[in-house]
């Protein structure tokens, strides 16, 4: 087990290094540096002053070495656009994205597994077709379109829900204000995540209930609910855990479109700001954070896997 962990840690460090090199060079080579983000009216002197101030007159490899030397010491640099530490900017935004992720995953897992099981045991029947149809719709409808439609319906026409924002926090916290702001973005994210879980649960469940040991359990006269939920589901969930492990980092790295539409100030909107402002240190910081999230989630899935299915051994 220890060897497995050390091995994975080593791989992760190499992965992280590769990701930072690629990102650093890509963003620096993209046309239009930070000096181009200045207003059109800026004079050549103003642009030059900015380039020198940000150290962009140095060769790119010198800048990368400088960045990585600081990064390994936990210093991700200062954001070009706000002059605040990158770590501070990320930690301000991350909790909002975690909020969306937690709600989305909890709802999607509960509803997704229920619908997936239902769809499997009603295979070929009306319920199965309806669930499949809805899953396809959920997967195919673009988030930005659905988001705008929901705003049109719930915010403008009905006036029930706020069209964007995150609600009041801190001293003015108001529970309904918070929930009302969460409903639409969580709904959108759920429509993209839920179908994956439903489909995985369904196919995995179908595979398991055709196994011999399930037939044996049934032959022994066990109640159908025991057969399904005690014997079949536990084994059917193994692949589902994998897909959840893939979905969590996707959500945590910021649902860019959903966050932008709903003015949700999480990592997704931070990525947009960083890219738009050619804020190199912030882009790098967010990239490092996302990479770490992906690596940790994958490791976590592997560990959970061996708990659910003792046949899987991490060595």
């Amino acid at each position: 087990m220890l060897r497995f962990l050390l091995n994975r840690l080593g791989q992760s460090v190499v992965l992280l290094l590769i990701v930072t090199v690629i990102t650093f060079f890509l963003i620096n080579l993209a046309p239009g540096g930070p000096a181009s983000t200045m207003r059109m009216e800026a004079s050549p002197e103003e642009r030059q002053a900015m380039i020198e101030k940000l150290g962009l007159d140095q060769p790119i490899y010198v800048r990368y070495i400088d960045w990585i030397t600081h990064a390994v010491q936990g210093d991700l640099g200062i954001s070009f656009t706000s002059s605040e530490p990158v770590i501070q900017r990320i930690s301000e935004r991350l909790p909002y994205t975690i909020e969306l992720t937690v709600f989305t995953i909890v709802i999607s897992v509960i509803v997704g597994i229920l619908l997936g099981v239902l769809s499997a045991i009603k295979r070929g029947k009306a319920q199965d077709h309806i669930i499949n149809f809805m899953s396809v719709i959920g997967l195919s409808v673009p988030a930005f379109w659905l988001g705008l439609m929901l705003i049109l319906l719930f915010s403008i026409t009905l006036g029930w829900l706020p069209s964007s924002g995150v609600g009041s926090r801190g001293a003015d916290f108001d529970l309904w204000g918070w929930i009302s702001h969460l409903i639409l973005p969580v709904l959108i994210l759920t429509t993209t995540v839920l179908p994956n879980i439903v489909r995985f649960t369904r196919s995995s469940m179908l595979e398991v209930i055709s196994q011999n040991y399930i037939r044996t359990v049934r032959a022994k006269g066990a109640k159908e609910s025991i057969v399904l939920y005690v014997h079949a589901l536990r084994n059917a969930l193994i692949p589902v855990v994998t897909i959840i492990g893939v979905l969590i980092p996707r959500l945590l790295s910021g649902a860019v479109i959903t966050e932008a539409i709903f003015g949700w100030t999480g990592i997704g909107t931070l990525i947009i700001e960083a890219a738009r402002g050619r804020d190199y240190p912030l882009v790098m910081g967010v990239t490092v954070m996302i990479t770490i999230v992906v690596v940790v989630c994958n490791l976590f899935v592997d560990l959970v896997y061996s708990r659910i299915d003792p046949r899987v051994k991490n060595v």
């Binding site: 993209a30 046309p31 239009g32 540096g33 181009s36 983000t37 200045m38 207003r39 059109m40 009216e41 800026a42 004079s43 050549p44 002197e45 103003e46 642009r47 030059q48 002053a49 900015m50 101030k53 070009f80 656009t81 706000s82 002059s83 605040e84 900017r89 301000e92 935004r93 509803v111 229920l114 239902l118 705008l148 705003i151 915010s155 403008i156 009905l158 006036g159 029930w160 706020p162 069209s163 964007s164 924002g165 926090r169 309904w176 204000g177 929930i179 009302s180 409903i183 609910s225 932008a260 539409i261 709903f262 003015g263 100030t265 909107t269 947009i272 700001e273 738009r276 402002g277 050619r278």
Partner: protein, 544 residues
């Protein structure tokens, strides 16, 4: 089993809907829901309420900071004050300075300051603050401050006494009071002194201290900036309690939020949503004059564009009125020269005009030697077809407009390749590297007819992006910049406009009107562009 599962799901759904329904009307994010005293009468300005204004990104509370863009300007001009501000007729009017005068030779400008101004932290505002702002920030070349280019002719600012300053000039600049009304607010010396003005994040990003009619109440990165009334304001105390700026990156969200009553006012950039807003109840869209002109430029370092007939042909080829009617939905008037009708004293339309006339365009091209000799539909000269690389940045209506321009130019036999690119890339290519052939964009300038910065030959490295050079125009622009008498300037700029229209340093397209979107219950907003109206935010009020 299955029945109970369905029951659970439907109950969950029903309860969400009920919860939402119960909250209808109880939500407190509307623009004015906070004051419910009900005590005042139905008409006339009332104190209280708040307005919500969208901004697209986190602001920087320092008007001179290179990262302070439009989203910062709309806040900074409320938090801070300048020496002058745009008057309701757009001419510079008093703000921190009560009056100003230029010396005979125009090399010294004296500004007399108010003596009753307090910074938001209670310190007294003095001439030292003005001198610090200019000498240490605006005129410090190493800093590359925003808008510093307007003050290139200022040598230094001298403190005469506590409430008098002198701007010492290298050469006369008649537009100085107008420049001082344009994003050039004064910052407090007692906070900045001894600090790098760009690194002072405790001020620039957290707790700005200004002299404006509102002061900072709270700021949450990525969400909102809330300002509250400054009761110690030197002018008339504001009527509104609060001004909230909401960080909303997506323009569609702005439209959705003003329709749902969550926003109060903004200038609509993309007019595609106009019909939807115009149909909505409780929201009004009004056209407002601005000091802007849209232009099409050709790089005059490239030989074929140095022939004025080619530039005239390009303008004849474009049906500008049709673009104004369709893309701009009527919010604009055809431009003949650079000085916008908003500058009523100086504007004239008595100049050469270029009607939509593709035949005339072809004639002019032929006169310049460009004819379709090989019958391929593209005009050519010395065997070279007339190819144009047309580079634009993607923002607002620019792409839609440019596509139409491209079509019009193709019709008169030009081979135009449109390359719509991300904004920063366009800036890099067109503005920084000058590696372009044709581009389309606009200028917005302070309310003064001095357009030297955009077309004087000594601005070729600056904002004279087409690299236009004309000694006669230079002379007129110099004369206009130096003349202090308004009547004299009028005459000069009349001549300058005629010359601009004849020679086309820029192919002037139109003077856009701002489509100002406002909720009906917001009153007291003067008939100015949104940006200028913010200088009068203390007069705004909410009428239920």
């Amino acid at each position: 089993m299955k029945k109970s599962k369905w029951k659970f799901l439907s109950t969950l759904l029903l309860s969400v809907v009920l919860l939402a329904a119960c909250s209808y009307g109880g939500e407190s994010t509307t623009t004015s829901g906070e004051k419910e005293d009900g005590s005042s009468s139905a008409s006339g300005p009332k104190k209280g309420g708040k307005v919500s204004i969208p901004i697209v990104a986190d602001p920087t509370f320092n008007p001179w900071h290179p990262n302070a863009y439009a989203e910062s300007n709309v806040i900074n001009r409320v938090l801070f004050s300048g020496l002058t501000q745009p008057g309701k007729d757009l001419a510079p009017s008093p703000d921190l300075a009560t009056k100003w005068e230029a010396s005979e030779d125009g090399l010294e400008w004296t500004f007399y300051l108010r003596d009753d101004v307090l910074w938001h932290d209670g310190e007294k505002f003095t001439a030292e603050d003005v001198a610090y702002t200019f000498n240490e920030i605006a005129l410090n070349k190493e800093l590359g401050a925003n808008n510093a280019s307007y003050f290139q002719k200022v040598k230094e600012v001298q403190v005469v006494d506590d409430f008098t300053v002198k701007f010492m000039m290298e050469s006369p600049v008649a537009a100085l009071p107008a420049y001082l009304s344009f994003n050039t607010e004064i910052v407090p010396k007692h906070i900045f002194e001894g600090n790098d003005p760009w690194e002072l994040t405790s001020f620039n990003k957290k707790t700005p201290v200004g002299t404006g009619s509102f002061k900072l109440k709270s700021y949450t990165s990525g969400q909102s900036v809330v300002l509250e009334r400054n009761d110690d304001y030197y002018g008339e105390t504001a009527l509104l309690d609060e001004v909230e700026y909401k960080v909303l990156a997506d323009a569609n969200t702005h439209v959705a939020q003003i329709l749902s009553g969550e926003l109060s006012i903004f200038a609509l950039d993309d007019l595609a949503a106009l019909d939807r807003i115009e149909k909505a109840k409780g929201v009004t869209v009004e056209g407002r004059e601005t000091t802007r002109f849209f232009w099409l430029i050709v790089n005059q370092q490239v030989e074929k564009y140095q022939d004025v007939r080619v530039r005239q042909a390009l303008l004849h080829a474009i049906d500008r009125q049709n673009i104004i009617d369709t893309v701009l939905k009527g919010y604009g008037t055809i431009a003949d020269a650079g000085i916008a009708p908003a500058l009523k004293e100086y504007y004239t339309d008595d100049v050469t005009r270029y009607e939509y006339d593709p035949e005339r365009a072809k004639e002019l091209l032929a006169e310049a030697g460009w004819k379709d000799t090989d019958g391929d539909g593209i005009v050519d000269k010395d065997g070279e077809p007339f190819k144009i690389d047309f580079e634009i940045g993607i923002q607002g209506d620019l792409e839609a407009v440019s596509q139409m321009v491209q079509q019009y130019l193709v019709k008169v036999g030009l081979d135009v390749k449109l390359n719509a690119m991300e904004w920063n890339t366009m800036i890099q290519d067109v503005v920084v590297n000058r590696d372009y052939e044709m581009s389309l964009n606009w200028w917005r300038y302070p309310a003064d007819p001095d357009l030297s910065a955009y077309m004087h030959s000594n601005s070729i490295k600056g904002m004279n992006i087409p690299a236009y050079q004309n000694a006669e125009l230079d002379k007129l622009l110099d004369a206009g910049a130096q003349a202090s008498d308004v009547e004299e300037r009028k005459g000069i700029y009349l001549d300058a406009q005629k010359l601009m229209a004849d020679e086309l340093p820029y192919m002037f397209l139109w003077y856009p009107q701002e489509a100002q979107v406002r909720v009906d219950k917001l009153k007291g907003v003067p008939e100015l562009s949104f940006g200028d109206a913010l200088h009068y935010i203390h007069e705004w009020y909410i009428e239920e």
